[in-house]
């Protein structure tokens, strides 16, 4: 029985692009105490705290999937991305991606991936954008025809004709970001990691980037992993959502599913006569609406109430803040 399950699982994994099992990473953080005396003491002797940045995460991603990777700041998203892209050694667990072990076969592996860090540009600051692209051509040994075809296509899709010959230091954040995305995709990678690519961008630029990511996924069948704090990104781009918090996976499934689970969770905003506002969240399956209402009407001084349907933003916020407890994850190994 177990063996059968194992075999089935193994067959399923054959088509997996990325395979992560029990991934762990700890950081040693020096503990600094306050005060001059302690600072001097620290020079010679340091104490360390161990912080589990990624604590036993497992998942697998199929070829051609777009997966949104979200979690509050410091949840371990970037650490996971760094381990998946081969620049960080995990402390435990297994990673297999595109048939390779990223941190062991890094040089081989990075030829077929692209990474876009929203906060770290890889463009050459002093030279026109096009020069940075040229450099990519040599770094990845892209054939001339492919390079030119890709470049032309990307420039059109991202609306870049206007500033392609301008030095990078004179570009706006949105233009730079588009430049970074093109630089990471010119070699037609099989897997692309986007680490907060829309951070700090205006609505139009965000929309452009989302459309582009979608295009790359649909037309080029690129497997995409996308971290962001913007739920719009997730809703518009991703098929699947992985939520991590404090280094642990708390949700893994489709977006519509998470909405369904939480459709039963309603929030009521109560506005009191003295201007106070209160938001109550409850599950209609556990506490029927009439009970909630009775409780509410027993109070005095209520001016207005409104029922808030769960928005993806709100759901995520509630998960982060611990207001919604997730049911035990099923089907996660």
């Amino acid at each position: 029985m177990l063996l059968k399950k194992y075999m089935k699982e193994r067959d399923k994994n054959m088509e997996n692009m990325i395979e992560v099992r029990n991934l762990k990473k700890c950081y040693k953080i020096p503990v600094r105490s306050k005060g001059m005396a302690a600072t001097i003491k620290n020079l010679f002797h340091r104490k360390y705290d161990i912080k589990k940045a990624v604590d036993d995460i497992s998942f697998s991603i199929k070829r051609g999937e777009v997966v949104g990777f979200i979690g509050p700041n410091g949840a371990g998203k970037s650490t996971t991305i760094k381990m998946l892209s081969g620049i960080l050694y995990p402390d435990g667990g297994k990673v297999k991606s595109n048939g390779l072990v990223p941190f062991k076969q890094r040089k081989q592996y990075v030829k077929d991936i692209g990474v876009v860090f929203g906060q770290k540009s890889q463009l050459n600051w002093d030279l026109p954008l096009i020069e940075s692209f040229e450099l990519m051509r040599y770094i990845y040994k892209i054939p001339k025809e492919k390079y030119e075809a890709n470049l032309e296509k990307f420039i059109k899709l991202l609306d870049m004709e206007e500033f392609i010959n301008r030095p990078v230091r004179q570009l706006s954040l949105g233009q730079k970001m588009r430049g970074d995305i093109v630089a990471a995709l010119l070699h037609s990678p099989k897997i692309v990691f986007f680490d907060e690519p829309t951070i700090g961008l205006d609505v139009v630029a965000k929309e452009k980037i989302r459309e582009f990511v979608k295009y790359m996924n649909e037309k080029e069948e690129t497997t995409i992993i996308f971290t962001t704090h913007d739920m719009q990104d997730i809703e518009k781009v991703c098929d699947r959502l992985i939520i991590i918090d404090s280094g642990k996976k708390v949700y893994d499934g489709s977006i519509s599913e998470i909405k369904n689970i939480y459709a039963n969770c309603k929030s009521i905003e109560v506005l009191y006569e003295d201007g106070r506002k209160e938001i109550k969240t409850f599950n209609v399956n556990e506490t029927p609406m009439n009970v909630v209402m009775e409780n509410l009407f027993a109070k005095s001084g209520i001016k207005d109430i409104s029922i808030i349907e769960p928005e993806i933003d709100g759901i995520i916020r509630d998960i982060y803040e611990g207001r919604i407890k997730l049911p035990a994850l099923e089907g996660c190994v």
Partner: protein
């Protein structure tokens, strides 16, 4: 290979964009040359030679060693900056060897400065003071080769110190101390001829003498025949030793690397 050449070319182009820095670089080398030459002019007074070293030999030493040390000055915080900002992850995500990439960028900058800072300074010096004539065309060619080897030694010393970033996170202090050692012991501030003989014996066992002094001696004809080969052999030996050390620190450092931020 082509990618590394491109790195060097891009850095070369980069340097071109800052025009003020470009002109100031020429001025910087010329001013420091004038200062050192004036000092030694005064020190020599009316003496034709000191310890068998003529003033024009000293001048030649300065033009080559000081001129080149200005030209070979590169961004020694290349690694520190990338480790501290965390942008080193972008580097590791490329299918290129980071160390070679770093070298090609620095070498591109060095080449730029040799052409646009060093050569103008040499031309200036030819008119300004009396320099020694090269002892032969072959010597000039061998000197150029020896200069390249010297540059690699200089670069490796800097690289080793830079890799300590992985442990200390800030290497400003160590780099400053290292530069004092390099400047004094390589003879770009005081010609090695004038060092106390005890110190000279010690320097002979360090890589510093191989950086500028070996090319200078080849140019002046102080080394000839087998001695040239011996001098270059020592340079190559140092390159191999330093590469071994650099590789050790680099491998250990990368393992230790914790990418900051994000």
């Amino acid at each position: 290979m082509r990618a590394y050449v491109e790195f060097a070319i891009k850095k070369f182009q980069n340097k071109m964009t800052y025009r003020l820095e470009f002109f100031m670089g020429i001025l910087d080398t010329i001013i420091s040359l004038i200062v050192y030459l004036c000092i030694y002019n005064a020190l020599y007074g009316n003496e034709a030679s000191v310890d068998g070293i003529t003033l024009s030999m000293v001048a030649t030493n300065f033009v080559i060693s000081l001129g080149l040390s200005n030209a070979f000055h590169f961004d020694e915080f290349f690694l520190e900056k990338r480790v501290n900002e965390g942008s080193i992850c972008n580097e590791f995500l490329k299918p290129v060897n980071f160390v070679f990439r770093m070298f090609s960028e620095n070498a591109g900058e060095g080449l730029f400065k040799v052409i646009f800072n060093f050569i103008p300074a040499v031309i200036f010096a030819i008119f300004y003071t009396e320099l020694c004539k090269p002892s032969g065309l072959l010597n000039v060619l061998l000197m150029l080769l020896s200069v390249v080897l010297g540059y690699i030694i200089l670069w490796l010393i800097s690289f080793i110190v830079q890799t300590w970033t992985f442990w200390f996170l800030s290497v400003w202090g160590i780099i400053t101390i290292k530069n004092v050692f390099v400047n004094i012991l390589s003879g770009s501030m005081i010609p090695i001829w004038f060092m106390p003989s005890a110190l000279r014996r010690i320097i002979a066992f360090t890589p510093f003498e191989s950086i500028y002094f070996t090319p200078v001696r080849i140019y002046l004809g102080e080394l000839s025949g087998m001695d040239i080969l011996k001098g270059m052999g020592i340079q190559i030996l140092w390159i191999l030793i330093l590469m071994l050390i650099a590789n050790l620190f680099w491998k250990k450092g990368v393992k230790k690397l914790v990418i900051q931020g994000g």
